[in-house]
Symmetry: C2
């Protein structure tokens, strides 16, 4: 292992995104290409809700172990983004507007009763990673946000064009995310470039981003296996009507 220059580390991180980010997963091609039934889009939104709902828990876990007031203050903006400043505000509430718009019962979505076990295990693995690994690795695992503005723009345009049951209001969640993701990933990228100062730390940063890519990928694998023909819906999980 050799010590990378900060720009080389950034290039290696971006290369992981180019190869492993879930934009490359076949499920996203189907979702963005208008090739899913309403029930399949519901399954995606319902499962992804758990990820959205756990993001502030993940971020609070990071803040809770951070002894630097500047970083804590910076990271706090993520709590505001997802939990909002009042009931009905924030990313989780906007995700529930998406599941509402898709015709899912809100109590059922929030109960998590229809969740795929594969989704649950992947999301929990992410929360645990942030709680238990080094602060540097926890921050690095957020770096998938470097790649999210592109996938979000593809998703919004593709879903609006492809599904008559999707409206601009339903997708309001995604309007807010690109500038937030750019701000947050800029901070995190700068942090890891400055603080990964040994070859071992740099490798840990790279592995953390690979780990996070595998979380997002495994969530789509679980969805794809359960809901794309031939369907293999596991016992107890959401069964679409169509």
């Amino acid at each position: 292992m050799t010590l990378l220059m900060p720009e080389e580390l950034e290039a290696a991180l971006r290369d992981i995104g180019a190869k492993r980010y879930h934009r490359l997963h076949p499920f996203h091609g189907l979702l963005h290409g208008g090739q899913l039934t309403k029930g399949q889009v519901q399954a995606w939104a319902l499962n992804r809700y758990y990820y959205q709902a756990m993001i502030p828990v993940k971020d609070a876990s990071l803040i809770a172990r951070c002894e630097d007031s500047d970083i804590r203050r910076e990271w706090r903006s993520r709590l505001v983004d997802h939990d909002g400043v009042e009931p009905g505000d924030g990313g989780i509430a906007r995700w529930l507007k998406l599941t509402d718009g898709l015709g899912l019962d809100r109590d059922y979505v929030m109960s998590l009763n229809g969740l795929l076990p594969g989704t649950r295990f992947a999301v929990e693995a992410y929360v645990r990673f942030v709680r238990e690994k080094s602060l540097l690795e926890a921050i690095a695992s957020s770096l998938t946000e470097l790649f999210s503005p592109v996938i979000i723009s593809e998703r919004v345009s593709g879903m609006l064009a492809g599904y008559d049951f999707v409206t601009k209001e339903t997708l309001a969640y995604f309007d807010k995310r690109p500038p937030q993701a750019r701000r947050d990933s800029g901070f995190a990228l700068d942090y890891v470039k400055r603080n990964a100062q040994t070859p071992g730390e740099q490798q840990a940063v790279l592995r953390a981003l690979e780990f996070k890519c595998s979380v997002l990928w495994a969530m789509l694998d679980a969805l794809h296996h359960a809901y794309i023909s031939p369907k293999h819906i596991p016992p107890g999980a959401f069964v679409p009507r169509d």
Copy 2:
């Protein structure tokens, strides 16, 4: 919720097994029916290795939180079963004889580098469950062993008949397991029947067994999605040669 008689609780547990145990998963039909390639059987053995390897960690976590010497002593036999009394002995070593016999490199198997993320997340969820839930739930989550003697006998006879690359020696792991599983599940079943004394505790026991069934099911979902045609092998995971 009503309080069940101990026999009713046992019947409800057995009913969960009849509906959710991974014997019902289509991957097992393919595996036991001789319908897989050697590479697909390798993928199964390689992924299942991680489960085997983490079982004593799970069992030690349970012992570590148990204040009753009788239960700790009883549960200790599981450590002996899996870790053996000397190097080369015990269930993990026998599982590595299986992966050896299938032509997998032992260092590669033990490195976990080829593991499916879905396997990793499911196994970790099980270890975490045993570490963090109540002792009653932790013990209840072991009750899938009630159902394992049947699946093991199907597996051994089916694999010996179906694959010319599988020998009786390769499958030696499974020779030992049925009597161990009967002894262990007998103890655990007796424990939960005696100690789940409120409707809430009984429901927690039932949910714990459902959770464990979902762990085993999700492991096979991940394998099935990755390795059964049309294959969707996630980035970085084991790629069979055939």
